[in-house]
């Protein structure tokens, strides 16, 4: 019996990015304790360096054959590696914006960076998780770090309230997810995705196994939907986006979506792929509800963060549509959409941060008034971002929608595509509100941009990418499909 329980250290290199990151976290954490004030910036640079190296390590693993280690808990495949690279990259960009925010809001603390790294670790675990347990653990690592990050602006009632809501609802969602996992475990007898996949593939229709699998599936889908922020499990999204410090909102709205999608892929596609017909029905409903509610309610918002929250819900709906298709290229479309969404969302929140002044959140749409006069370049960038989010060509947001729609239509869901595009038009209205504020309305307030050069540079590159990738999207589309 003992020989079953083995731990083969020779395969550890597969988890090198995670191992490195964890070590780096410890180093950063300890170092930060001993840094005196003038050198506090070192934490930031060290964090960036850690992420960079993590990214490089992950990048090096691209192309490695699919490997499963740690007793089936950990998988290395192209999707995992590519996602990790993207997460590292996105987090780095996010941190560039974050630094500016933290200094201007007196939130600059070493723990912040440690927590970001920890959540990064959690996401990497999720991306590579191949058992229900690791996925859950990764999820919790991520979630607990995020709760803390949100509450880190502890003098702000809004932030604390947001953290609390996220925490309570997140805990419930975890509970539901776990309940589902227990059912899946109970019927299949395993918590490994590969075993579950095999079991689900063999379960016959209308059998007891099918019933329980489905029963568990409902809870799993809900847990995942919560993480994604899909309607009707979206309630936390607007409150948290609005309440959290902008830098955290930016982080929270971007990178974890990759992890959530990865978890979705691991559980539903890899594990329950055989039951696609069952969960895709749920996805259709939730996706359309998300698109609709996200578009319609966002119209009413005056707070740009809250508006972007609803817009995120709407985007999530599109991402879910990609999974409705049940074909590899559809999943690819969803992944492409996620990557595009992250690029846009980073830039959008980056713009909000850019406009921050000392201790003042420029998070009302009206705060953007007259931006095009004072800073035409960044107004143009924001225009690009907003129109891209609205799905107007030639920006990247259009291609992601195109890809999803093409897949949805090719699977025969023309009606769904039509509903989706109608709401896309409705959603264009609130993006235009931002454009309106920037371009069509004057302001006596003088908007001065105090951000540092690196922030401006990265933000510009970020926004320009939205256009450039929009003009040459081919590579990214192909890459997204190749992950499956």
């Amino acid at each position: 019996m003992n020989n079953i329980y083995t731990f083969d250290t020779s395969t550890l290199w597969v988890a090198l990015p995670e191992i490195f990151l964890l070590s780096a976290i410890v180093v950063v954490l300890l170092l930060d304790l001993f840094l005196i004030k003038p050198f506090k910036q070192v934490t930031y640079y060290l964090t960036q360096l850690s992420l960079l190296i993590t990214g490089i390590l992950a990048f090096n693993l691209i192309g490695e054959p699919k490997t499963i280690i740690f007793g089936g808990s950990f998988i290395l495949d192209n999707m995992a590696s590519v996602f990790k690279v993207f997460m590292a990259g996105s987090t780095m960009i996010a941190l560039v914006y974050t630094r500016h925010y933290l200094t201007s809001h007196k939130l600059y603390r070493g723990e912040y960076f440690v927590l970001v790294l920890l959540s990064m670790l959690g996401m990497m675990v999720m991306v590579s998780g191949y058992s229900l347990l690791t996925l859950y653990m990764g999820l919790e690592v991520l979630a607990l770090s995020l709760y803390t990050l949100i509450a880190i602006a502890r003098e702000r009632a809004g932030a604390v309230e947001a953290a609390l809501k996220y925490f309570v609802l997140g805990a419930i969602a975890s509970g539901l997810l776990l309940y589902g996992m227990s059912m899946i475990y109970g019927i299949s007898g395993s918590i490994n995705i590969s075993d579950i996949a095999a079991f689900a593939a063999n379960a016959s229709l209308a059998s007891r196994e099918m019933l329980i699998l489905n029963f568990g599936l409902v809870f799993l889908v809900i847990g995942i939907a919560f993480k994604l922020g899909a309607v009707p499990f979206h309630m936390w999204v607007p409150d948290v986006y609005q309440g959290a410090p902008t830098s955290v909102t930016m982080f929270l709205s971007t990178v974890p979506k990759i992890a959530a999608v990865a978890m979705l892929v691991r559980i539903l596609v890899d594990g329950m792929g055989a039951m696609h017909a069952y969960w895709s029905d749920l996805f259709i409903v939730m996706a359309l509800l998300s698109i609709a509610l996200g578009s319609v309610v966002a119209l009413m918002q005056t707070n740009i963060k809250r508006m972007l929250a609803y817009s995120t819900i709407s985007h999530i709906g599109f991402i879910m549509l990609g999974f409705v298709t049940g074909v590899v290229s559809g999943y690819g479309a969803a992944v492409f959409y996620v990557l595009v969404y992250i690029l846009m969302s980073l830039a959008a929140f980056g713009m909000i941060i850019l406009l921050n002044k000392q201790g003042f959140e420029a998070d009302n749409i009206s705060d953007l008034k007259g931006l095009s006069k004072h800073s035409p370049w960044f107004a143009l960038m924001m225009l690009v971002i907003m129109l891209s989010m609205a799905g107007v060509p030639p920006f990247i947001g259009f291609y992601s929608k195109l890809f999803i729609l093409q897949q949805v239509i090719s699977t025969g869901f023309v009606t769904i595509a039509v509903i989706a595009v109608v709401f896309a038009v409705i959603s264009a209205y609130y993006y235009l509100q931002v454009v309106k504020s920037m371009y069509f309305e004057g302001s006596d307030k003088n908007i001065t941009i105090t951000a540092s050069m690196d922030m401006k540079l990265i933000l510009s590159i970020n926004a320009v990418l939205i256009l450039v990738v929009g003009i040459f999207p081919d590579f990214w589309m192909k890459l997204s499909i190749s992950l499956f």
């Binding site: 607990l144 009632a157 809004g158 604390v160 609390l164 925490f167 776990l178 227990s182 918590i191």
Partner: protein, 101 residues
């Protein structure tokens, strides 16, 4: 003999009590945290029952980790709660609705 079904139904009842507790309870947030604990215990019971009937320890291992996570969660939850008390002077659920719409 007690069937697996009995255990599962028991845990489902506890699970639902936990769920119901969350939304019928607005005295204070600490009760919400306790309800979450209840939910987790229900899930744990599920895992253990399955583990027992399947003769497979993975379920128990899972429970082990859930307990760990829950403990960590409680720590953070209570920390946030304390913060809330500091900024609001109360932890009534009813007053925490500055973010809405």
């Amino acid at each position: 003999m007690v069937s697996l079904s009995d255990y599962l139904i028991l845990s489902s009842i506890i699970f639902c009590i936990g769920l119901a507790g969350i939304f019928i309870n607005r005295t204070n947030i600490i009760t919400l945290l306790m309800c979450v604990e209840l939910i987790l215990v229900a899930v744990n019971t599920n895992f253990i029952a399955f583990s027992h009937f399947l003769g497979n320890e993975a379920g128990q291992i899972f429970v082990f980790f859930i307990l760990t996570v829950a403990a960590a969660e409680v720590a953070i939850g209570l920390a946030i709660l304390t913060l809330l008390f500091r900024v609001r002077g109360s932890i009534d659920v009813d007053v925490t609705n500055s973010l809405k719409g």
